[in-house]
């Protein structure tokens, strides 16, 4: 595998780790966050500080980065989710949290302000990232296809009916938020040790929106959809070699177009399974041969 292809794959999988987490939160609980870049930032800074300043080994640093992001998610999640804010107010609160966190990173001594932390060791190799990607996906899949996932879907579909089915909204939402933050933290840790430097301005609400974009484009209530979207979003601009800003222009347009034309996303509420692929293939084959016969 060429060095270049490997790079694209690594970035795509790092991106997918965060997106899997967010899809559990937004796609399965129905709350939108515009602050998840902050969790990525927390993961990135935690891991970077641990490896660079304290000489910690990489994999434990990644795990601690995830835990740290998860802990911080409780700080913002417990008050806002307990208050049962209207969902749009919650989104504004997460936006505020993300911005506050970024400004904080710009001003703390340990994060070295706007200069950031350069010169990190490139520990994020393909095997490590791949193992974590598989692990995170495995956990997310098991979570979603369990009683916990079912409760989350119930909350997303109708939170009043969910409460009247004995479901505690707060627990369900906080659990999903925590999981998504841990994933974001892990993603951040890998990102930091792939690009090898971090700065606060890498973690703006545009990044948060792009994460949400993958979830939405892939399909709310699906895991495979967002993963595919995350991989595609990371890979296509690399392949086409377009400048970053044009990529963002396209993302913005795609987001609007999806909301207007296909709000359920590409795989809305469905999963891509091997069985499904086989069925689709047979369907297609039947069509092709059918047409062939008609000629």
């Amino acid at each position: 595998m060429s060095y270049y292809v490997q790079g694209v794959l690594i970035m795509a999988m790092i991106n997918a780790i965060s997106v899997v987490g967010l899809s559990v939160f937004t796609g399965f609980t129905g709350l939108m966050s515009l602050g998840h870049a902050a969790f990525i930032a927390i993961g990135a800074y935690t891991a970077a500080i641990l490896t660079k300043l304290y000489g910690f080994p990489f994999v434990p640093s990644v795990v601690l980065a995830g835990i740290m992001a998860g802990m911080v998610s409780l700080v913002i999640g417990i008050p806002t989710l307990r208050a049962k804010l209207r969902s749009d107010y919650f989104t504004i609160a997460t936006l505020g949290f993300g911005e506050a966190m970024r400004v904080l990173l710009e001003n703390l001594p340990i994060t070295q302000g706007a200069r950031g932390l350069p010169g990190l060791t490139p520990y994020s190799t393909l095997p490590v990232v791949f193992i974590f990607f598989v692990l995170v996906t495995f956990v997310a899949k098991n979570f979603v296809f369990s009683r916990y996932g079912r409760m989350a879907i119930a909350v997303r579909e109708d939170f009043v009916a969910a409460e009247m089915a004995g479901i505690n909204l707060f627990n369900v939402r906080l659990r999903s938020l925590f999981f998504s933050a841990v994933c974001a933290g892990i993603g951040g840790a890998f990102q930091a040790h792939y690009i090898t430097y971090i700065q606060p301005n890498m973690f703006t609400n545009v990044q948060s929106t792009l994460l949400t974009a993958s979830v939405v484009a892939g399909g709310m209530g699906s895991l495979t959809g967002p993963i595919i979207a995350a991989l595609v979003f990371a890979a296509i601009p690399e392949v086409l070699r377009v400048a970053n800003m044009w990529r963002l222009v396209a993302y913005g347009g795609i987001l609007v177009a999806i909301m207007v034309f296909r709000p359920q996303g590409i795989f809305g509420y469905k999963e891509l399974t091997f069985k499904g692929i086989y069925r689709g293939y047979k369907h297609l084959a039947a069509k092709v041969t059918g047409q062939g016969g008609a000629k």
């Binding site: 749009d88 107010y89 505020g96 506050a100 545009v206 949400t212 909301m259 207007v260 709000p263």
Partner: protein, 292 residues
């Protein structure tokens, strides 16, 4: 005492622009009940239009202001028709509106970035650096003009909404869009009009922001302050947006001077979250729980 007065005056000057943006933002919130994150992009483009009108077309300031207001109004209207109207007809959840709004915002910002570049464009001097003294504090002529013009614009807007037939239709629609429609309000037209009005205010905000801080692609970021102002005053309330904007301007100014200018924004965003938690309806707003 002298310093406190000066801090407050400086805060009010910034707060006037916050108020202007918050009114436009709140106007849209009151009728569609979602947070229009694209508003910052419209303000940014308004600012660019003002800048190019002054530097390329060399028109007088008043004409540049008018051009930028009209341009922003047109963009705001288009924004609604393209990104929101079909969602509205489908009765989509507010989550979808917000995603569409974020999409628009990213699109506009990066479109400008990609075509016009990332440079900061300084407006030509209109008011000079001169300042006048007021109650023993000094205030820049630009700031004074901005705050006076902002308040006049808000006043006209408020008069329009409170006292004209169209204004009553807007209020009816913001109260209950379904019922107002049954009573003969052309909802689509009213919503279009609201976006135009919000766009006019965005044009004014854009020009003043440009004169104060220059025009650049990511300047729409400052509309975050409009959200905070609107939350302080109570989302959806226009008088609340004005008061909220002024309060936020003054608070930020006080924090910068007496605590730390670096922590100003951390303060603002933390304040936003705390406010949402303890007082979601703000000073004047009606906090509607999600319909049961």
């Amino acid at each position: 005492m002298q310093m406190l007065m000066q801090t407050i005056v400086t805060g009010l000057a910034v707060g006037g622009i916050y108020a202007l943006m918050a009114v436009g933002y709140s106007l849209i919130f009151s009728i569609l009940n979602f947070s229009n994150f694209a508003y910052g992009g419209i303000i940014m483009l308004g600012s660019y239009m003002g800048f190019y009108a002054l530097t390329l077309l060399h028109v007088p300031f008043a004409a540049a202001l008018a051009l930028s207001m009209l341009g922003a109004a047109a963009l705001s209207f288009l924004n609604e028709r393209i990104a929101y109207s079909s969602l509205r007809k489908r009765h989509a959840p507010s989550l979808y509106f917000m995603i569409s709004a974020m999409g628009t915002s990213i699109f506009l910002e990066n479109m400008v970035y990609a075509t016009l570049g990332s440079s900061y464009n300084a407006y030509p001097e209109i008011f000079g650096q001169s300042s006048i003294s007021l109650f023993g504090s000094t205030i820049g002529k630009l700031d004074l003009f901005a705050i006076i013009f902002s308040l006049i614009a808000i006043y006209i807007m408020n008069y329009f909404i409170q006292h004209t037939r169209t204004g009553i239709a807007i209020r009816a629609a913001s109260y209950d869009s379904e019922v107002s429609q049954i009573n003969g309000v052309n909802l689509s037209a009213v919503i279009g009009l609201v976006f135009i009005l919000a766009g006019l205010l965005a044009g004014v905000s854009g020009v003043f922001l440009g004169m104060k801080y220059m025009a650049y692609p990511t300047m729409g970021w400052i509309t975050n302050k409009a959200y905070i102002s609107a939350v302080i005053g109570g989302l959806g309330s226009l008088p609340g947006a004005v008061v909220g904007g002024l309060i936020l301007g003054v608070l930020e100014s006080l924090v910068s001077v007496y605590v730390s200018s670096l922590l100003r924004d951390v303060f603002s965003f933390t304040f936003l979250i705390v406010l949402l938690l303890v007082m979601p309806s703000g000073l004047f707003g009606k906090y509607l729980e999600e319909k049961v």
